[in-house]
Amino acid sequence: MQLQRVHPPAVLRRLAGALLLLWLVLTLTFALIRLAPGDPATFLVPPSATPADAARLRAELGLDDALVVQYARWAMRLLHGDLGESFSLHQPVARALRDALPVSIGLGAVSLALTFLIGVPIGMLQAVRRGGKLDTSLTVVTTLAYAAPSFWLALALVAVFTYGAASWGLPPPLRLPAFGLRAPGLELHGAAAFADLVRHAVLPVTILTVVGAAGIARYARSSIADVLGQDFVRSAWAKGARSPRVYFRHVLATVLPALVVLFALSLPGLVAGSIFVEAVFAWPGMGRLMVNAIVARDYPLVMGAAAVYATIVLLANLAGDLALPLVDPRRRA
């Protein structure tokens, strides 16, 4: 890795690069979807429809035109900010995404914050007590959580905290809902509505946090252990610095750039986790939207969802690149 200067022109160049990449991703998705077999019209017409009906629908949706024409039309619309009409939901793709996105971003942001707040201290604790009993048992726990599929953990938690809690007579705070975003059939306002949302969010957030924190802790442990063995840490101890000062001022400051990079890199994993978690808990977020769109071969919706995912990842990478000089003086001009 070489030193790099980040100043406005460089930022712009980065941004331009990211936009180009985004366009490439979208074109790739377009090509992938259109080259695949399977006719969306057959999914959309009722079973009683004749082949003529399907043909009419294909013509109406513009699926009969040459691929190049379809691509050009799609690209022109996209440049005007029009993502098209969803085949299966019969509403604009933009509106479907706008409804789903806050749910997933909320779930993801809370989980990501908790992941780092829990994962980094655990990794640090392990690195400091390296080789001890605490380190060994935490390694076992984090490696197990890292290996466990999130959808299976989700089912296990539902079994314990929804069904188990009810039949074992656990106190009400431990009886947690298994499905959805809010209690059905209740008109709640203000604090009560918020409390209801929190109750519904506990299990999904827990799953994403446990799986994510396990990965972060594994990474933080090895990078912090590397730093602990270096000369400047020994010098700090030798000068008589107290432990908090050594750990925060010297060790954590050194691994911070790596953690910032990790923050950007952990986003795709979080997206993957949230797709399963949304599937198990029936959360009306991006993951469920995407899976349903794929099953229904809803091309515009799949494209729109893929565009959103790619944008999030590219933005996270960009933010990581730009934040690096802030936490790493060596990267400053």
Binding site: L21, V25, L32, I33, A147, L155, Y163, V291, R297, L314
Partner: protein, 290 residues
């Protein structure tokens, strides 16, 4: 002292996880072959369904892990599923590793516009989360074993390609490459005989770690109904099948989940140990790359 202790613990972990994988491989091959139970056909559903683990049904057949909702023996079914999960995971990540190595080698050795195009492609594919890409691809083709393997390869080669490319770019400047060229070896021979063998360490580690990941992804796809299709069992679709039985018959979903965790754990530990060993040999270069 600590180094000795750590390396002894490491080799115990390696022995343990290799042992586990060998036992598992043997079990998934031989259990379905030798068992009298049919893991796919559905028999007397009402008499056999949802028997708890360690019971004997009225025909006298013993069910180690009980039966599922159609009365099929869960243990035999799980072993048959293990065949598919293991094969898909291993073959998928091996081919992904091979494709990645080839792309990385071409990219580094040819350079120029080829390099730029291949790296732009890999950047674009990396910009989509792997599961999203996997879902798009899996939904486009007819679901099945072959599709899952193909999709795992298509979405899994980029990491290895970048590793091999970076490694080869470093090796290109080393004296032994110049020496081989000076001795009259063709560019292809230098790559094949001298440069590539020296660049494979990180790629092998990444591929090993990829096996566990591939098995998890396969089970996830099958859980969502986009991977291996029932009645053919896979750990993922078995968990999906036990989803609404989690209260009545928890063993249906628990058993395949534990098998999945044990397998992925063994693969991860093995990959970790390999990485540590490689880091011990060339610690400095690895740290630079990270």
């Amino acid at each position: 002292m600590t180094a000795v202790r750590t390396s002894r613990r490491d080799s115990r972990i390696v022995a343990l996880s290799t042992g586990l994988l060998i036992v598992l491989a043997a079990a998934v091959i031989f259990v379905p072959l030798l068992s009298s139970q049919d893991p796919i056909a559905i028999g007397d559903v009402l008499a056999l369904r949802l028997l708890p683990p360690l019971t004997r049904d009225q025909t006298g057949a013993f069910h180690l892990l009980g039966t599922d909702r159609f009365g099929r023996d869960l243990f035999v079914r799980m072993m048959l599923a293990g065949r598919i999960s293991l094969a898909v995971g291993i073959v998928g990540s091996l081919f992904a590793g091979a494709v990645g190595t080839a792309v990385g080698a071409v990219s580094a050795w040819v350079g120029g516009i080829t390099d730029r195009a291949l790296m732009a492609l890999s950047d674009a594919l990396l910009a989509l989360p792997r599961l999203v890409l996997l879902l798009v691809c899996a939904a486009l083709w007819k679901p099945g074993v072959l599709t899952v393997v193909l999709v795992l390869v298509l979405t899994g080669w980029m990491g290895v390609a970048r590793l091999v490319r970076a490694e080869l770019l470093g090796i290109k400047t080393r004296p032994f490459v110049d020496a081989a060229t000076a001795l009259g070896a063709s560019s292809r021979r230098v790559l094949w005989r001298h440069a590539l063998p020296n660049s494979l360490g990180p790629a092998i580690v990444a591929t090993t770690l990829g096996v566990g990941n591939a098995i998890l992804l396969e089970s996830g796809l099958s859980f969502l109904g986009l991977g291996i299709q029932p009645p053919r069992p896979s750990w993922g679709n078995m968990i999906a099948g036990g989803r609404d039985l989690i209260v009545v018959a928890p063993w249906v979903a628990v058993a395949p989940g534990l098998a999945l965790i044990a397998t992925v754990l063994a693969c991860t530990l093995l990959g970790d140990a390999m990485r540590d060993r490689l880091a011990g040999e060339t610690g400095a270069t690895l740290r630079e790359r990270a």
